[in-house]
């Protein structure tokens, strides 16, 4: 009860700060020469309230606290074109003055790797400050069985559906995984969110489904407990050497990589596995990224990265992050930069392999530049 007066005063102050902040950009231009801006503008190329927007707002709160100057962070949502529109705009407009930052996600990374004709941006011109990994789990209807081997055999025999958003979206590596395991899973496109896909599973329309970790815990665990779903495999997580290992959130669940490599004749050097690995790295190991233009002042960048680094040892942040994205360590600084660079470089031959695979296997035509 005694906390009430404090609570009611706080927002009042916040309002004033917000009003002041809103006016700040009008006066801020003169401060360009100063090393650390008072206001950071984060361009979020997604709509208000989406997954990436929520992550950006969550991170902006913690980053503002972690940076010594406690800058105000303004979120600028520029949705459209599945995040391509806003990212293009950032690419052409953002000044490397340390004020402008960009938040992207798997749906920004994949079109860039596939050279979507609408993409005009280039990840090589940006460098990450912090990245949030996520994992994910594939689960099936209980009629396919309870044991991994049994389920896989049944899925090879009995054709079933998987509800997806777009052929080249977040679920593409999952669809590739099904194909690499030889499962008779057919995609149905046009879901507007992963949640709609889960709804199709709960209605029994889809036999298999996939959710990222946080959504799995909140929405699928109750289904598993009541016997309406059986987890099959996780996508795993990437360790510092770039090898996919078991997901700490699902230590008892085999990863896709384990299942695939256990097949006779399968190896890590298979083209399909390499393609999977690339898209897994850019779409899951570095799912959400906070980026700045590379030409940003080196000291400024070092300051931002130090702020991000400090977060990785901040227990309060880690506890809050566990609730938001699952038990994954954020990747910061040079490590993130190295991983991103290696993930984003997809050779022309590999890209053509993806295009051919989508065309031959599913009849989907992907246009590339």
């Amino acid at each position: 009860m005694h906390a009430k007066p404090k609570l009611s005063r706080m927002p009042c102050r916040r309002w004033w700060i917000a009003c002041a902040l809103a006016l700040l950009p009008l006066f801020a231009e003169a401060d360009d020469a100063q090393p650390t801006p008072d206001t950071l503008t984060w361009t979020v190329p997604f709509g208000v309230g989406g997954g990436t927007d929520v992550w950006a707002r969550f991170m902006s709160h913690w980053m503002a606290q972690s940076l010594p100057q406690h800058p105000a962070i303004v979120i600028d949502n520029v949705p459209g074109g599945g995040s391509i529109t806003g990212t293009n705009l950032f690419y052409t407009r953002a000044q490397p003055n340390g004020e402008a930052m960009l938040v992207t996600s798997a749906s920004t990374q994949f079109p860039a790797m596939l050279k979507d004709p609408r993409v005009r941006f280039d990840y090589a011109k940006w460098t990450p400050i912090i990245a949030a990994p996520t994992g994910g789990v594939v689960y099936v209807q209980p009629r396919f069985g309870q044991e991994t081997g049994e389920i896989l055999d049944n899925l090879r025999e009995e054709p079933t559906k998987f509800a997806m958003q777009t052929p080249t979206g977040l679920e593409m590596p999952v669809m590739l995984a099904f194909d690499m395991l030889g499962l008779a899973v057919e995609p149905v496109f046009g879901m507007r969110s992963r949640g709609e896909g889960r709804l199709a599973f709960e209605r029994g329309e889809a036999g298999v489904d996939f959710q990222t970790t946080s959504a799995y815990f909140s929405s699928v665990t109750p289904l598993v407990e009541s016997g309406q779903a059986v987890p099959l495999f996780s996508l795993g997580v990437m360790n510092e050497e770039g090898v996919i290992v078991r997901d700490p959130a699902f230590p008892d669940l085999p990863t896709f990589s384990e299942l695939y490599l256990a097949q006779p004749g399968a190896s890590r050097d298979d083209v399909a596995y390499e393609v999977f690995h690339k898209f897994f790295a850019s779409g899951y190991a570095l799912q959400k990224l906070l980026l700045v233009p590379k030409q940003v002042d080196a000291k400024l960048l070092a300051g931002y990265r130090a702020g991000a680094k400090a977060l990785t040892t901040n227990e309060d942040f880690l506890a809050a992050a566990r609730r938001q994205v699952g038990p994954y360590e954020p990747v910061v600084g040079e490590v993130a930069a190295r991983q991103l660079a290696s993930a984003m470089e997809l050779s022309d031959a590999r890209r053509q392999w993806v295009v051919d695979w989508l065309k031959d296997r599913y009849g989907v035509r992907v246009v590339t530049r």
């Binding site: 609570l7 309230g49 927007d53 979120i75 080249t168 149905v188 046009g190 199709a200």
Partner: protein
């Protein structure tokens, strides 16, 4: 359940909760009244404060805002014919004609009271329904959703006025416009003419503004005078509006019930419910009907439904984390930021929180509607001001609203292009709602059809739910026929009189030069669009082809009717409207060169001084007001306008 209910009621009525909710209501009304903003802008205002707030209070603030957005947008729908958001499109149909008759206060009072009742009824229905809703939501597969979009499309027959063929062509054009962008089944791009703006499809808000608001503005400018043609006592109108709702309490209850139940179906809710209830009201209304020309029941029905629908949309949002409407999607983001995960726990461990949400919705509805009711009478005065004084303000508002859709100049040029279609449709009496319904339902119809066939094959159409809904559609169409048959049998003597009245009732189709232009234009468009999609894969191109077929057939039949002399030739003036539209196009070009703020300022100043012939002081006052509004919005909501060279140097 009772424990949770009581606990949450205690929470809802606590002082701090009420204060935060009041704050949310204020913000919701503000962004609701300004067209083009709606829930997304309101959420952008609130979100920075949400993180770290106590969930109960934060929810109150969120709910306050979410609840009143479909209330506030009624002002512009009724007074200016601008549909503020997709939830109030049907309100324009009769609300604006009422304003033109000088009955704006009546329409507003009715609308707000219906909103209030709708919201409360929705909350009551929801309180019990949410506990049992899970299996029902799961029963709606893609097949049922597809049949529901068909039900929505069937409304075109009700709404297309005196010519079914023209309505069909208009609906086909809407379907085709809605198919622009990406094929949901394959991700292929189609019908975009290589213009990057069209890759995402046309935004709904731009189409709504273009098809309804622009033609009305042009019409009013030509006619001169004020919006209200007849002067009636506003106070009397206000009381009349209240009485109208009391007289139509059955309609309010039915539409609110329909709204809250349809709202629970994810993926469809907001966009069809107002048209569905509007069509329901116009079909079942007794006595004299003036739907489309200012029938108060045409306002009451959609307004009682849309607030109830906002309540219903909470069901899939809370139970499945799948938002039932655009606003609910934003609300979901707020929930996640508060650390609340939607799911089954919302009706088990967090039931008190769920009831806090539902009852905050009800209370915010009451608060918001009561505020609006008080505002209704003074704001209705606007309809008595000479329209030339209002025109620059409304034009600026429309351009402002359209540009918020994607913040690209494409929004403005699309506005003018679709506005031209709207103008031709209005002048020639083609059904504009038919176009809009086609546009709104196109993505749903295509996606759900493809998905239901993929999931179930042909068995999709034998599912019990599908058959039930199809039977309902058939009954809805057959019911008036059966009733007429029964009446005839009961009163065999009156048959002659009945037939006479009927032939007098059926309007003779008309045809004029605009019709000719439209028919030829649509056929040419059909050929061009067919060529564009002919290279696509089967499942990517089949839907636009279907739309082309509907449009082409409708246009051909309308043309054939005139050819055979079944339609009476009428003169359809078009010169003056096109001149005004050209003026608007010039304005948009200037605004993209000079910058929006300076252009809006200069245009207002010049227009009010030289066209409206007001004093310089009046012109300056209004122009400064517009400038201040645009600058204020830019600062408050972090908005962007086109900055030409003048704005770039000034602001």
């Amino acid at each position: 359940m009772m424990e949770a209910l009581v606990a949450s009621l205690g929470e809802v009525f606590s002082a701090s909760h009420l204060v935060y909710m009041g704050l949310g209501v204020m913000i919701g009304l503000l962004v609701g009244i300004i067209p083009g903003l709606g829930g997304i802008a309101g959420m952008a205002l609130l979100l920075p404060f949400l993180y770290g707030m106590e969930p109960g209070l934060a929810l109150g603030m969120l709910m306050g805002m979410v609840a009143v957005i479909p209330t506030g947008d009624t002002f512009t729908s009724v007074l200016m014919g601008i549909p503020g958001s997709s939830a109030s499109q049907a309100t324009v149909m009769d609300g604006f004609p009422l304003a033109k008759k000088g009955q704006a206060a009546r329409a507003l009072a009715s609308a707000f009271l219906s909103s209030l009742c709708g919201g409360v009824i929705g909350a009551i229905v929801l309180t019990g329904f949410i506990l049992v809703a899970r299996p029902l939501v799961l029963a709606f597969s893609s097949a049922e959703l597809f049949v529901l979009t068909l039900l929505g499309l069937a409304m075109v027959a009700v709404l297309s006025g005196d010519s079914l063929f023209k309505g069909m062509a208009a609906c086909g054009l809407g379907l085709l416009a809605g198919a622009i962008g990406t094929a949901p089944a394959t991700g292929e791009f189609r019908l975009n003419l290589g213009v990057e703006y069209l890759f995402d499809g046309i935004p709904l808000i731009v189409v709504g503004l273009a098809i309804f608001a622009l033609p009305e503005i042009v019409d009013l400018l030509i006619r001169r005078g004020s919006i209200a043609r007849e002067q009636t006592s506003l106070g009397h109108g206000w009381r009349q509006g209240i009485r109208d709702v009391v007289d139509n309490r059955g309609l309010v209850a039915k539409c609110a019930g329909m709204g809250s139940l349809i709202g629970t179906i994810p993926g469809l809710a907001g966009s069809v419910v107002d048209w569905l209830t509007y069509a329901f009201a116009s079909k079942t209304a007794k006595g004299e009907k003036h739907f489309g020309q200012g029938d108060i029941r045409g306002v009451i029905a959609p307004e009682s439904a849309n607030n109830a629908c906002a309540c219903g949309a909470m069901v899939p949002t809370l139970l499945f984390g799948v938002p039932g409407s655009g606003t609910a999607a934003i609300f979901l983001g707020g929930l996640l930021l508060l650390g609340l995960e939607p799911g089954v726990s919302m009706i088990t461990t967090h039931l008190d929180l769920t009831y806090t949400i539902i009852w905050s919705l009800a209370l915010a509805n009451i608060l918001g509607a009561a505020l609006c009711l008080m505002l209704a009478r003074p704001v209705a005065q606007l309809t008595r001001i000479p329209f030339v004084l209002l025109a620059p303000v409304i034009t600026t508002l429309i351009l402002f609203a359209a540009f918020q859709a994607t913040r690209s100049l494409g929004d403005w040029y699309t506005l003018i292009a679709v506005g031209a279609i709207g103008l031709l449709f209005k002048q020639a009496g083609w059904s504009r709602p038919a176009f809009l319904i086609g546009f709104v339902l196109a993505p749903g119809a295509e996606t759900y059809f493809y998905q239901s066939v993929q999931f179930h094959g042909m068995a999709a159409f034998l599912r019990p739910g599908v058959i039930i809904i199809l039977t309902l559609i058939a009954l809805a169409f057959a019911f008036p026929l059966i009733k007429r048959l029964l009446q005839r049998r009961q009163q065999p003597l009156a048959v002659g009189a009945d037939v006479n009245r009927q032939t007098a009732d059926i309007p003779v189709p008309t045809f004029g030069k605009i019709d000719l232009v439209l028919v030829v234009g649509l056929l040419a468009l059909a050929a061009g669009a067919w060529y564009d999609v002919s290279g696509m894969s089967m499942i990517g191109g089949i839907f636009p082809m279907l739309a082309i077929a509907i449009m082409g057939t409708g246009a051909l039949l309308a043309g054939a009717q005139a050819w055979k002399g079944q339609a009476s030739w009428v003169s359809q003036p078009i010169g003056q409207p096109l001149v005004w539209l050209g003026g608007l196009l010039a304005l948009v070009v200037v605004a993209s060169l000079l910058g929006f703020i300076s252009t809006a300022f200069l245009m207002t100043l010049g227009f009010i001084r030289f066209v409206a012939r007001a004093r310089w002081s009046t012109a300056a006052l209004i122009a400064i007001g517009i400038g201040a509004f645009l600058l204020g919005m830019q600062a408050l909501l972090n908005l962007h306008y086109p900055t030409g060279w003048l704005d770039a140097t000034l602001f």
